[in-house]
Symmetry: C2
């Protein structure tokens, strides 16, 4: 009850006038709850129009894994007002491009077209928020498509199967352990009812974020959004977005995936890691540095220098961290051993380097280089209007706000070497880690 | 729709007369769907009265782990017709005992009393199928009790925590990976609404099995059951019992649990294993032999003889398999190393023995001894009226029928040595295994 009231109050405040505007980014909320973010960039007469839903694979009900992604495919079918495929055809006829993507935390649809076609895009996108018409034929046809997609991208790729099994081991309770594409045995049974249940529950203006970026004015976007998205009724009983959470991870896990198709074995390790939280982005910012310092730019990173150049144990060593996520995420280390180096020795070298790093701390010169690089990356990113739109959409569907996105560059620049070491000490807890080996069928025993 | 119709037809057939009777076991189905199994044993004027629900921890909704067990506790609170604790008090005053238990597949309530008190037991048990009255005080009080139960049985026992983390690693998708007691962070939030939702969904005469064993006649039991349980209305929309199933397990997993409280390290390995299926119990029967042959009776089993007596590597080596389970279960091997033997060496010895067993096959004399022992166990089990009742209740809540239970001793006796080897070859697939080490804080690295 409290939740619904708060929603109504928030809508009342946001109606019709910019709620936030910093530099060239503005945001509004329509009366029906649709959030709108406008990123101005007038260098070319082009606009990116994106609709993001706060609904991804991790919001699926148990047993219907893959339904979020399946529905993404189905949204290109017939609606009450348009024929199947008509949106994509109109976009192409207007010289634009369109696509869609599904992650654990969101599903998003976008078009890139000439700026004067924005109204048409909104008309067609708004239509499929509510008006999808699904036949059993659509289900049968498109289910074959996603099964084939799984066959090609996962089942025929030992590395993808390996990462899927790693992921399942990394999460004891949370749905991030289930693949976005879905488990095959569940995908085979996905039905029209399953698709409509997900659609009716999550596809609503008050569960979506509209991001428009490019050669547009905020007022024009607001007027168009009111015209096309405004008439959509909100879903009144939209519940909180609650997922099951992890219990304490108490035991170091190891996993060996053997497949005759593997030609290049490697070691992958993931640690449970915090994500960016709204109003509290400091630890995540420190982890971005940590990934860069340990495993960014091969030649100069801690792991790259030690394992690839000094010891020549690895042909590649890297680290990865995705800070934008609704719930706890993973920090990843990878070592691809040089020919004739055993995985065991490659892993031991990795462990040794991490230990030494925790003792020795960060080289001040490297830290300054990374800090400068991060700032430069941010400046360059401003040039890519699509990337800027994507940044707002992914953040706002992952529990962050426009303010968080705007505070992020400063949060990154505020990180100190000691912050990074503190985050590293908290992160490298073997009990929260999974170590995986990808090997050929007759490969090294763990 | 088909499901409901089939149910109605079955009820029509079963009303009022024994549907099945073999030896001293009879079974009926009341009009409201309650199944009744009667096991006659007139050696003592005692009766065991058990009510089993087809609802266990694996039937819980995501995020409310522990609710099945929590509800079991709450069933001893007030009902419309009796005070809190009254059932247990009446049982005790009549010189009997009572209790309840929850597993992944069932929740069961039982009393053992003088045979002439059966009607009274039924009156009180039938009352709490539908008439539970829960206050917020009950919730708060009893939630503290289950949290304390978890603290004592799990959190303060490194071996229990270890097995919990093993279990989470053993199942990639299926709820058997979630502990029956619940994850602490979810238990802390279990509410009255959660308990009532589980109660209203699963506690129904057509989702229960009444097992009465002891000094009773089937006709008397049927009459009493009709009197006391007959008036309970069935739940009309009781859905099928569907749980998410496992994807293919493709990667061998290893896990190391370190805890300063560990005084005796050991190696545990679990393999994904089939369970008894209705009408198809042969493979499970073979696995019962396999567990006995490999790790039964210490002195004469394959692992016991090799690891404890010949090589003196272990102080204990065993194997375990629980055949009764609704979905795929686990086959377990354990080696507790002798002092000064490293876990690595203990595990290597285990692997060597399994390999040798797969090559050498079963010693015919040992096979005959085990076969005889299994038959003897079955004969002795007939003496324990409580165990006989338990056997029917657990089987009927795990997808088996009265006929399956009665066919089981013959299925066991029909097993050949070649059946066992075939089951062993299918079972020992490292991709479907988790190997765990329990070690002290500064224990051996994996």
């Amino acid at each position: 009850m409290r939740f619904i009231l708060a929603g109504v109050l928030a809508l009342g405040l946001g109606v019709g006038s910019p709620a936030t505007a910093k530099g060239d980014v503005s945001s509004f909320t329509l009366e029906n709850g649709l959030e709108v973010v406008v990123v101005e960039d007038h260098r070319a007469p082009v606009v990116v129009h994106m609709l993001w839903y706060r609904a991804g694979a991790a919001d699926e009900a148990p047993g219907v894994s893959g339904i979020a992604h399946f529905l993404e495919h189905l949204l290109f079918k017939k609606t009450k007002n348009f024929e199947a495929g008509e949106l994509s055809r109109v976009v192409a006829e207007n010289g634009g491009s369109d696509n869609a993507f599904t992650s654990q935390d969101y599903t998003a649809y976008f078009q890139r077209v000439a700026a004067d076609r924005l109204g048409l895009m909104m008309e067609m996108e708004a239509d499929r928020v509510r008006n999808l018409v699904l036949s059993e034929d659509d289900i049968a046809t498109e289910r074959d498509v996603i099964l084939e997609e799984r066959a090609q991208r996962t089942d025929s790729e030992p590395g993808a199967l390996f990462r899927e099994q790693m992921n399942a081991a990394a999460f004891l309770n949370h749905p991030y352990g289930i693949p976005v594409i879905g488990w095959r045995h569940e995908m085979e049974n996905l039905s029209r009812e399953d698709a409509l249940a997900f659609y009716e529950r999550f596809y609503a203006p008050n569960n979506a974020i509209l991001v428009v970026a490019g050669d547009v004015k905020p007022d024009e976007v607001l007027e168009l959004a009111k015209t096309y998205y405004g008439p959509l009724a909100p879903t009144p009983d939209l519940g909180a977005r609650e997922r099951v959470q992890e219990p304490p991870q108490l035991a170091e896990r190891r996993l060996r995936f053997a497949d005759p198709r593997v030609s290049q074995p490697y070691v992958l390790r993931t640690y449970q890691a915090p994500e960016r939280d709204s109003g509290d982005q400091a630890e995540a910012a420190a982890l971005v540095y940590l990934a860069e310092i340990l495993g960014g730019n091969g030649a100069t990173s801690v792991l790259g220098r030690a394992l690839q150049f000094d010891e020549q144990i690895a042909v590649y060593a890297g680290a990865g961290y995705r800070s934008v996520s609704l719930d706890d995420t993973s920090f990843t280390l990878i070592v691809v051993p040089a020919p004739d180096v055993a995985l065991k020795d490659a892993e031991a070298a990795l462990d040794r380097e991490i230990s030494e790093f925790l003792e020795a701390g960060i080289d001040p010169e490297q830290f300054e280089r990374v800090k400068f690089q991060i700032r430069a990356d941010d400046v360059y990113a401003q040039d890519d209007v699509y990337a800027r739109a994507e940044r707002y959409g992914s953040a706002l569907t992952s529990g962050l706000t426009v303010e968080d996105v705007q505070a992020w560059p400063d949060a990154l620049q505020a990180v100190t070497a000691e912050d990074v070491m503190e985050a590293a000490r908290a992160l490298f807890d073997e009990r929260k880690a999974v170590t995986g080996w990808l090997v050929p069928e007759d490969g090294e025993e763990m």
